[in-house]
């Protein structure tokens, strides 16, 4: 078969414009399919990265934008099974006021945060400094990179929630290179608020680490039971569930997109099949001549299918390379942006790229089979009579 490849290749160059346009359509379809294939896997990956199955959130039952009394933190700590609990309060600090909040920043309890988030593996020295210095802050790798900050830098944040401005000193890195968060000390924030006459004894969310993942449901039930009929009833949920709620709408969107993607792939099959049909129809006389010369129909069938598959696979390879580049560009360029959601974490993995390449091959084979079958099975004498 190898010795026929130059013939196949030259046939592809017969109508270069048509081949290039068809190839471009296939390549773009592969880019689309591969990029969209990253969504479900990316969402799972994202949730796995940020969520632990033994960490729970406790927030106001009315919604996460509503606060709860600070005393809830201590009460949650007393629930059997809770190893430690800490609180998050949205500070909403803007580094560049005109751009608003460009990364999530929270006031947290430094003395317990390292225990609840032991999986973040914050460097011991950084954690110790965070606990020791009132103005200390831990900053995620993504935000550090985005602003070119480093440990020791002073950063001033103007709160969009409270009437204060805080200057924090970066003492260490939080999470990995994709983490956009900034944590500052709750006490630093409350003291600043007191200085402007605001008494703040509320918290946004309590995060608790449970000693055994099997006890999570029981612990959540006890906590919610404890605050039933109180001034702020609570709703507890696992960390994964907490974050997944943010993306519920996105998941529905992903399903729709995947359906559309399937239809796009099908359309591309038809486009490629149409091209293959046109190409074969133009050469029906030549194919008859090749049969006269002794080319068996199976060989001709294979050559025509290989021709369609080669065009599609080369185009698919271009699409796959484009996808890899695009995905890398998005992930490196995407700063924290509420509109983008977790898109920056959606990487086109090797498996997705290989699937894209095989989809291109499949499109090529499928599009080539019907015209190739018709042309290779035609009677050579009848074709010669009709064409010449």
């Amino acid at each position: 078969m190898i010795k026929f490849l130059p013939l196949v290749w030259k046939n592809l160059g017969r109508n270069k414009t048509r081949s290039v346009l068809t190839g471009a359509a296939i390549a773009l379809a592969i880019v689309l399919v591969c990029m969209l294939r990253t969504l479900p896997a990316g969402l799972d990956y994202f949730l796995d990265q940020i969520a632990k199955n033994n960490r729970i959130s406790v927030h106001n039952k009315a919604g996460i934008v509503y606060s709860m009394p600070y005393s809830y933190l201590q009460k949650v700590r007393t629930v059997p099974g809770v190893v430690e609990a800490t609180s998050w309060t949205w500070f909403g600090g803007a580094f560049e006021e005109e751009k608003g909040v460009t990364f999530p920043n929270f006031a947290v309890n430094p003395e317990t945060i390292g225990i609840v988030y032991e999986d973040l593996e914050i460097e011991p020295q950084a954690l110790a400094d965070f606990q020791r210095y009132r103005d200390a802050a831990l900053v995620g790798g993504q935000t550090l990179k985005q602003y070119g900050w480093k440990v020791g830098d002073l950063v001033t944040l103007r709160s969009t929630v409270f009437p204060i401005e805080l200057t924090v000193r970066i003492v260490g890195t939080l999470g990995n290179e994709r983490d956009p968060r900034l944590w500052l000390q709750r006490e630093y924030m409350t003291q600043a608020l007191e200085a402007v006459g605001v008494q703040f004894d509320q918290i946004g969310t309590v995060w608790a680490r449970v000693d055994d993942p099997a006890r999570v449901n029981e612990v959540m039930r006890r906590i919610d039971e404890m605050f039933r009929n109180s001034e702020a009833e609570t709703a507890s949920e696992t960390e994964r569930s907490f974050f997944a709620n943010f993306f519920t709408n996105l998941e529905g969107f992903v399903t729709i997109i995947l359906i559309v993607t399937g239809l796009v792939a099908l359309c591309i099959v038809f486009i490629a099949a149409n091209t293959a049909s046109m190409s074969v129809r133009e050469r029906v006389g030549e194919i008859a001549v090749l049969k006269a010369l002794g080319f068996r129909w199976r060989l001709l069938f294979a050559l025509l299918v290989v021709e369609a598959a080669l065009l599609s696979t080369v185009a698919g390879a271009a699409g796959v390379l484009l996808t890899a580049g695009l995905s890398k560009a998005i992930s490196s360029a995407a700063g924290w942006n509420p509109q983008l959601g977790p898109l920056g974490a959606f990487i086109a993995t090797g498996a997705i790229l290989v699937q894209g390449l095989f989809l291109a091959l499949f499109i090529g084979i499928l599009s080539g089979v019907v015209p190739a079958w018709g042309a290779s099975r035609r009677s050579v004498a009848a074709t010669l009579r009709e064409v010449f």
Partner: protein
């Protein structure tokens, strides 16, 4: 070399039946150059297709190069053509995206020859038809006469015993037509090929050994061609 016994070919076109050939018997000995002549629709191309293994008779027996073609499957017929028959067509039918050399090499792709050997044989065939220096040219860069000579080289390259030519001068000017007929004659004379040619061209008669005249699917007469007369005189 070629034996057709009582061959008929019936085509159905809707409700109509067309008798392209009726009880034709024909014997072509080896190393002869014969012409099938007759008006349009006389069945000469059908006869050529049948004896070349491109078409099957509705009845009758076809034995070519020792093989009974009636018994062969489509794949076996393809193999038969690759081994025994070289084709020359009226409109040359070269592959436009291939060079002259690559066009000539095409039938050799069906053999087990290595690439170098295939290229060498194709170059030799091109030399035989006087086009060695045009090997790298594409068909569009060649004149009609040159294209037909490339087609003859392609028919010759796999060294088949039989060359069939369907109106090989039909699309050529007088000079190139004479050149092509001369080349076909050379194939018979120098290489011992059996050449069967369908033609309307009266000039062809002087190059061939025998002329078979058909009309309305019936073989009317067989007479010696000019070449046979010339050889006889010599």
């Amino acid at each position: 070399m070629i034996d057709l016994r009582n061959v008929s070919r019936l085509y159905r076109r809707g409700a109509d039946e067309i008798h392209a050939l009726e009880h034709v018997s024909l014997h072509v000995p080896a190393a002869r150059f014969v012409a099938l002549m007759g008006p349009s629709g006389s069945g000469k191309s059908t006869l050529l297709n049948i004896l070349a293994g491109l078409d099957r008779p509705s009845e009758g027996e076809v034995v070519v190069a020792g093989e009974r073609l009636n018994d062969l499957s489509e794949d076996e017929l393809a193999g038969f053509r690759a081994r025994h028959v070289g084709f020359v067509f009226q409109f040359f039918n070269l592959i436009p995206v291939l060079s002259a050399l690559e066009n000539v090499e095409l039938p050799l792709l069906l053999t087990h020859l290595a690439k170098d050997e295939r290229r060498q044989r194709a170059a030799t065939a091109l030399r035989v038809v006087g086009l060695a220096e045009r090997a790298s040219h594409s068909p569009s860069q060649l004149s009609g006469g040159e294209q037909q000579r490339v087609a003859i080289a392609r028919a010759l390259v796999s060294d088949p015993e039989i060359i069939v030519a369907d109106e090989p001068t039909g699309d050529l000017d007088a000079k190139n037509a004479e050149l092509t007929l001369g080349l076909l004659r050379t194939l018979k004379q120098e290489f011992g090929k059996t050449v069967v040619m369908v033609t309307h061209d009266p000039r062809a008669e002087k190059y061939v050994d025998l002329v078979h005249h058909l009309d309305k699917g019936v073989l009317l007469e067989t007479r010696p061609g000019g070449a046979a007369a010339a050889e006889g005189a010599a």
